[in-house]
């Protein structure tokens, strides 16, 4: 049975976290730096929205403002954390394995599975601001061996088709979860079809740039749509669009179910 929700750009949780004051141990780059975070789902201070979607717990659209801005070294367990750099540069220092210092630019992305424990630090050290999409996923198991993988999505050669970045396709980064992340960048208008593995899988569609019509729902820049129970998604994209698709198993999650019930959000199409 189809179920869906639409989340407009301005309906997301909006937090601005400064590098001084109470968050100074968390946010780097004093003086003058701050992180602007738009959260599609509940995260930290923002707790009045949807708790998640399938295995997704965090979908953050973050901008590191000011030279040196970012997150100081901090620990994680279990979550699978992905970042997709849209603009600027992200310097990522990660303790997984023997440790990595990685620099990610536009089109680069990583999958960090924190598993039994890892720490990381993320900084924007170039003069321009850094904008990335952050995705946190529930893992398939607790305390997996920590891992770090990264890749590049070549916007010039992979235009006008839906390309899988994370999942089980050739060349996609692997993930220990029933999940796929795909991306569609267009430079001409077109129609596309996204087919999830099964109709029981949910797909969270996020328009990073441009716009899209997905199963007759019009989405503008930074709007998003969550949908499950459909065989396929029919997408109409104008030229100059950048659209992310996060396909996930739909867990029977008590927190999400309770939120949907309380908000009358369990809408049928």
């Amino acid at each position: 049975m189809p179920k869906s929700f639409v989340l407009r750009a301005n309906e997301r949780g909006h937090d601005v976290i400064y590098s001084d004051g109470s968050a100074s141990s968390y946010v780097a780059g004093h003086p003058g730096s701050y992180i602007a975070r738009d959260s599609s789902f509940n995260f930290h201070q923002y707790q009045s929205g949807r708790p998640g979607f399938g295995t997704v717990r965090v979908f953050g659209d973050e901008v590191f403002n000011g030279a040196g801005c970012g997150y100081n070294m901090h620990p994680h367990h279990n979550f699978i954390i992905c970042a997709f750099v849209l603009e600027g540069e992200l310097t990522h220092i990660n303790t997984a394995g023997r440790g990595t210092v990685d620099q990610l630019r536009q089109g680069d992305y990583y999958v960090f599975s924190a598993g039994s424990g890892g720490k990381h630090c993320e900084l924007s050290i170039s003069p321009e601001n850094m904008n990335a999409i952050y995705l946190w996923l529930m893992p398939g198991q607790l305390y997996l061996p920590p891992s770090y993988h990264r890749a590049h999505f070549d916007i010039r050669t992979r235009r006008n088709r839906i390309a899988q970045l994370v999942g089980d396709a050739d060349g996609a980064l692997p993930v220990s979860q029933d999940l796929r992340v795909s991306r569609l960048v267009t430079d001409r208008a077109g129609r596309f079809t996204y087919t999830p593995r099964t109709p029981e899988h949910g797909v969270y569609v996020f328009v990073a740039e441009g716009g899209a019509t997905v199963n007759d729902v019009a989405l503008a820049r930074r709007d998003s749509l969550g949908i499950s129970g459909v065989e396929a998604l029919a997408i109409e994209a104008p030229d100059s669009s950048d659209i992310f698709f996060v396909e996930t198993a739909m867990l029977d999650d008590a927190r999400i179910r309770a939120w949907e019930k309380a908000h009358g959000a369990d809408l049928l199409d």
Partner: protein, 71 residues
């Protein structure tokens, strides 16, 4: 009384609390039920409040339970 022991995940950082293991390093004995963890308890790794943990039905990866025991 014999309800299965459960596992909880911090939504701020992914730290897990396992009722069967407790957190002896942080003063919670093995077998301490989530309901018996004080309401003002926060994640030892990130300070997230107890209310922002989610119950998870997930097994450990190989060797994971031994690592969790000393977390």
């Amino acid at each position: 009384m014999n309800a299965p022991l459960k596992r909880w995940l911090c939504l701020g950082c992914g730290f897990s609390y396992d009722e069967s293991l407790g957190l002896p390093e942080h003063g919670l004995a093995p077998g301490t039920r989530w309901a018996d963890v004080p309401d003002d308890w926060v994640c030892p790794d990130c300070g997230t409040p107890k209310s922002q943990f989610e119950m998870v039905e997930m097994g450990y990866a190989e060797g994971g339970a031994d690592l969790a025991r000393i977390a």
